[in-house]
């Protein structure tokens, strides 16, 4: 296979999975620059090691695994050691970049709640409820047993239910926005 053909293959990957991957990374990492860096690095790595994809196995969990591992690496090594965070690294600031002001409140609440979750719980929540992976695929992505995934999902949902920003019965911005739309 020539290089040109390989790059075309990468282009196909990007067209299919870049948007979902960068949004997943955004939900995990909480800011745009890190999310875009992580996804760029992930795609390049995945493409470089594309022969390691087992024939017949699903591409989507494989790619998510690369993305999640890269995000984990950033969470563990880069982000905690920054001396000064840039203003646009902050979750709230990132949310305000978007012009869709209707989403700002929702974004703030969800991202605040996600930010307060530990990374290992945040990842399973994002993979399950945004990337729409099942528990078995999530287990493959994070390298744990499905039982562990289930346990983490429950723990994450329990914590989110107790989070002040996402109180379901409270007049949170999410509920308020829905009511105004209806």
């Amino acid at each position: 296979m020539s290089d040109a053909v390989d790059v075309d293959e990468l282009r196909t990957w990007l067209e299919d999975g870049y948007a979902s991957s960068v949004r997943t990374a955004y939900l995990i990492l909480g800011n745009r620059p890190d999310a875009e860096d992580a996804v760029q690095e992930s795609f390049l790595r995945a493409w470089k090691f594309r022969d390691s994809l087992v024939t017949g196995s699903s591409f989507k969990p494989w790619l998510y695994r690369v993305v999640v591992n890269t995000c984990n690496s950033k969470l563990r090594k880069e982000i905690p050691h920054r001396h000064r965070r840039r203003p646009d690294d902050d979750l709230d600031e990132v949310a305000e970049i978007d012009d869709r002001t209707a989403h700002i409140a929702v974004t703030n609440d969800v991202m605040t709640a996600l930010k307060d979750l530990p990374a290992h719980l945040r990842i399973v929540i994002v993979l399950r409820y945004y990337a729409d992976l099942n528990e078995h695929d999530i287990a493959n992505v994070i390298g744990r047993q499905p039982g562990t995934v289930k346990s983490r999902l429950n723990e994450a949902r329990r914590r989110l239910a107790l989070h002040p920003a996402l109180q379901s019965e409270a007049p949170s911005p999410i509920n308020a926005r829905k009511e105004s739309q209806s």
């Binding site: 990468l10 282009r11 949004r23 939900l27 875009e36 090691f49 690369v66 390298g143």
Partner: protein, 380 residues
């Protein structure tokens, strides 16, 4: 337990993520990066993208198991080997290994506790060049000791005997005869004879000295004079110290000869006095070392045995041999219990060590496994 509604969570996350505008040109940027990247060729060494097989963990566990087996086997093997050899010269509670079976198993300390006690302590000299006893080195130059042909070994031992009632005086006389017959002598005697009015028991101590080659025979004779409850002996190699003293004396004698030559050529009174002062000093040192050498020579020529005797007044005969099979079985049971307890204590050390090693290996294996996982994750 309250958990967040799944549907609401899914909707909230999608709304949040959908609000994230995709940067224009990001895809092209990645494609350009891929084209320009020098390492754009395929690499297949990454393994973490496939299902884990647990080979690393299995290998670590297998290695840990091997090390644990070795850690358990080696101390146990050593405990059965060299430790026994080191203890060989020391005979405790009737186990007189270096001198043969001084005490038969039937005459153990359990029987002796009910009879009259007699303690024998001894010091033995051994000048034999062919001795193979394991001894503690106390000489200054152990390396020199290996060069000499004659070993100078000092041995110390203790034997406890029991004698029957009214046999105290007879035993003391008998021990004196043993020393004399074996070419030795009685160094000291101390005894307390009981009286019926005082209701006390006779006790005494006798110190015997015999030539080293008769020590084994003397110990055997003393053991048979009563009922031995314990025999303790130890050996001390003083060959190095002996050789060291001899070398110092020789060197000083050479110096003395040189000073005497110098003195014969000196004419001035001042010079004669100075040389005489040196000669006096050298002579003093020679005499000092010679005295130490003589002491060592004496200690390594004769063996000293100290015998302590006490009388309980109980019937010894009744306890010498168990009267019934039940009594004998009871004693054997006690012996078995003590032996089992000793065995437990003996293996406790190696087991504890093995457990510590196992714990350390498990911790190390876990660390290595986690490091491997992280490395894999980074590669992904």
């Amino acid at each position: 337990m309250t958990t967040f509604d799944e549907e609401k969570l899914q909707r909230a996350l999608r709304e949040t993520a959908d609000g994230f505008a995709i940067s224009e040109g990001a895809v092209d940027l990645i494609l350009d990066e891929a084209r320009e990247s020098p390492g754009s060729e395929k690499q297949t060494r990454i393994r973490s993208l496939v299902e884990r097989t647990g080979r690393v963990r299995s290998s670590v566990m297998a290695a840990a198991a091997c090390v644990v087996v070795l850690a358990v086997a080696v101390p146990l093997f050593n405990a059965e080997g060299p430790a026994t050899a080191i203890k060989a010269p020391h005979v405790v509670h009737g186990a007189a290994a270096p001198y043969g079976a001084l005490l038969p198993p039937s005459e153990s300390s359990l029987q002796g506790l009910t009879a009259t006690g007699l303690t024998v302590q001894g010091t033995v000299s051994n000048t034999s060049a062919t001795t193979t006893k394991t001894v503690g080195k106390t000489g200054a130059n152990a390396s020199e000791a290996s060069l000499v042909t004659s070993l100078r070994v000092e041995e110390v031992g203790t034997i406890q005997l029991t004698v029957r009632d009214q046999k105290f005086q007879t035993t003391l006389t008998q021990l004196t005869d043993f020393a004399t017959t074996d070419g030795g002598f009685v160094a000291s005697t101390q005894s307390h004879i009981d009286t019926k009015a005082s209701h006390s028991f006779s006790t005494g101590t006798i110190v015997l000295q015999v030539p080293e080659h008769n020590f084994t025979m003397l110990v055997d004779q003393v053991r048979h004079a009563g009922f031995a409850t314990s025999v303790v002996t130890s050996a001390n190699d003083v060959t190095g110290q002996y050789v060291d003293l001899q070398a110092r004396i020789s060197a000083l004698q050479v110096s003395r000869t040189q000073y005497l030559k110098i003195m014969s050529r000196t004419n001035s009174i001042g010079g004669i006095l100075a040389v005489q002062e040196q000669l006096d000093s050298i002579q003093s040192q020679i005499e000092q070392y010679q005295a130490q050498l003589n002491l060592l020579n004496s200690e390594t020529t004769y063996a000293t045995l100290t015998v302590s005797l006490s009388e309980s007044g109980h019937s010894v005969v009744a306890h010498k041999h168990p009267a019934t099979g039940v009594d004998k079985a009871w004693h054997e049971s006690l012996h078995g219990f003590a032996a089992g307890f000793e065995w437990l204590i003996r293996i406790a050390g190696p087991l504890l060590f093995a457990l510590l090693v196992l714990a350390a290996l498990l911790a190390l294996g876990r660390l290595m496994w986690r490091a491997t996982e992280r490395r894999r994750s980074r590669l992904n």
